[in-house]
């Protein structure tokens, strides 16, 4: 931290603090209420993911990816299996692709609900959080119905899925979507257009697009800054080309483009788009077919390496996998979107007040499990 001047004070936020969304420590240099320097300290949740992968077979890595970002495990599974499949040149059946997309988009809604709810709680709105968790619960029920787990699914396998969709899943999902769609507006009225919330977030923590790109910020945070970039469209993978959906970008409705409010707004719009994708996927979903038809008996990708990204709820989730033709990977590296978003925190939040730093951190939607791996 260097020299601390007479009027300045070093303040520790965390590691155990409700607003840090996990175990994160921020060393903050303050002058009164104004923050002049932020140094994040991470690694409290380090579980040696990449070291573990040195001793695991390809299919054994999947449960570990669940635990990296425990809010959106389906999307992590998805990113990993898509990468290994591309390395092995496996093309899964249409039915598997559709089920994967449905699960990933449902998980995106669940993840955004948690992000928005906790963001609201960070700035003092407790009630919306409870409503959003109630709705998230319904999605977790759908997952539990499908694979028996509520948070850590291990659902997507290389070449297939662990279970077919259960009887009644499609109807239950339609039922949920019909119920949930009007709830988005209810939540928006409760929190997003609330005057106090707007005062706390509009014009606060503006992230200019060029800074965002330089810091590798991706996903809703980048789109909040007005950059139209979504891997589901721009670096098309799986079957996302079959669906019709928009990419919402921040427009600075309440203040400046790229402020905390825009990042919140983008997530609410993405939930609507995800609902649309799930509806289209359910409509086109093939009923016939075995979901484990193409699961290989032995997973030994050919020699080589691959870097592939997919769009997780937090942004570009990249996997770098090196194979030497054996059943155990040489190297699995996870490029975490929350890691890069947190690295930009000091660039965004320096110069704001302590309470604004909490709002900015909430708007970035970080998951420490994925940052520390």
């Amino acid at each position: 931290m260097g020299i601390v001047h007479g009027d300045e004070m070093v303040l520790n936020i965390g590691p155990q603090h409700p607003s840090t969304h996990g175990v994160l420590r921020l060393k903050v240099l303050t002058d009164g209420e104004i923050v002049s320097k932020i140094t994040p300290y991470i690694g409290y949740l380090h579980r040696c993911f990449e070291k573990h992968c040195e001793n695991l077979t390809y299919e054994q890595v999947i449960p570990f990816t669940d635990r990296c970002d425990y809010i959106s495990s389906m999307n992590n599974n998805f990113g990993y299996v898509v990468t290994v499949e591309e390395l092995m040149d496996i093309h899964v059946s249409k039915k598997v692709e559709y089920i994967r997309v449905i699960m990933a988009e449902l998980n995106r809604i669940a993840s955004h609900l948690l992000a928005l709810g906790t963001f609201g709680m960070d700035v003092g709105a407790f009630t919306p959080f409870l409503y959003m968790f109630r709705d998230r619960e319904s999605i977790l029920d759908l997952f539990e119905m499908t694979c028996g787990a509520r948070l850590l699914y291990n659902y997507m396998w290389i070449g297939g899925l662990s279970h077919d969709l259960p009887v009644g899943f499609v109807e239950k999902t339609y039922e949920f979507l019909d119920y949930f769609e009007p709830k988005i507006k209810e939540n928006d009225d409760l929190l997003m257009y609330n005057k106090i919330f707007i005062e706390r977030t509009a014009d606060v923590g503006v992230l200019p697009p060029e800074v965002a790109v330089s810091y590798g910020v991706t996903g809703p945070n980048l789109r909040g800054s007005g950059v139209q970039w979504d891997l589901r469209k721009d670096e098309q993978y799986s079957i996302y080309d079959r669906f019709d959906f928009e990419i919402p970008v921040g427009t600075g409705q309440m203040g400046t483009v790229g402020d905390c409010w825009d990042r919140y707004w983008v997530r609410t719009q993405e939930m609507k788009e995800s609902i649309g994708i799930v509806r289209q996927a359910l409509k086109q979903l093939p009923t016939e077919g075995d979901v484990q038809e193409l699961v290989p008996k032995k997973i030994r990708p050919p020699k080589g390496s691959i870097y592939k990204r997919t769009e997780s709820p937090r942004g570009d989730l990249g996997f770098y996998i090196i194979s030497d033709g054996k059943p155990i990977p040489v190297r699995v590296k996870l490029r975490s979107p929350a890691f890069t978003a947190l690295s930009a925190l000091s660039a965004i939040a320096e110069g704001w007040m302590i309470s604004d730093v909490i709002a900015i951190l909430g708007s970035l939607d970080i998951v420490l499990g994925e940052i520390d791996r």
């Binding site: 991470i42 690694g43 380090h46 040696c48 990449e50 070291k51 040195e54 001793n55 800074v211 790109v213 330089s214 810091y215 590798g216 950059v227 970039w229 721009d234 390496s305 870097y307 990204r309 570009d316 990249g318 770098y320 090196i322 040489v330 190297r331 590296k333 490029r335 890691f339 890069t340 690295s343 930009a344 660039a347 520390d372 791996r373």
Partner: protein, 163 residues
């Protein structure tokens, strides 16, 4: 296509920077680390290449073949991507830092340093990032040996039957 274009540009602008082999690999560009910082700035600023986004930095320990640092770049302007590989000597691992060219390189390089002990020359704040500051050794190196104790706590060894 972009692969050939980058090769051509680098050969013209920085002669001798590419590791020339008889069969050039098709999916990445191996380069020497000598002018890496200037090459990186060129990759970002050249209007035809414009690799404005550094996607990922991966450290790799290849055992006897030494260590590699692999960079995945992407251009949001032209929508093309490229992978660059730089070999590092295991005995004296050093490589120029590109942290000031892409700010995201700051934490990525710290992570590679943390896991492999590769020194990034010119990095302004090269500290461990995920592990404690007083951790001994570089965990993702192939010759890494777990320390016996850490602050008086005995580190459990991996049991044989797990293997």
């Amino acid at each position: 296509m972009i692969h050939e274009q980058v090769l051509k540009c680098l050969r013209k602008k920085f002669p001798g920077s590419i590791v020339e082999t008889e069969e050039m690999p098709a999916d990445f560009i191996p380069i020497y680390q000598k002018n890496w910082a200037e090459i990186a700035a060129f990759l970002r600023d050249d209007p035809d290449l414009r690799f404005d986004s550094l996607q990922c930095i991966t450290g790799v320990d290849l055992g006897e073949e030494g260590m590699d640092v692999r960079y995945n770049f992407h251009s949001m302007t032209h929508l093309h991507k490229i992978e660059i590989r730089i070999s590092v000597d295991s005995e004296n691992p050093k490589i120029p830092s590109i942290e000031q060219i892409w700010r995201v390189g700051d934490w990525f390089e710290r992570e590679v340093y943390d896991m492999y002990g590769i020194i990034f020359d010119g990095h302004r704040d090269l500290r461990r990032i995920l592990l404690p500051d007083d951790w001994e050794g570089w965990p993702l190196r192939k010759d890494y040996e777990t320390q016996e104790t850490f602050h008086g706590i005995v580190v459990p060894k991996v049991k044989e039957e797990w293997e």
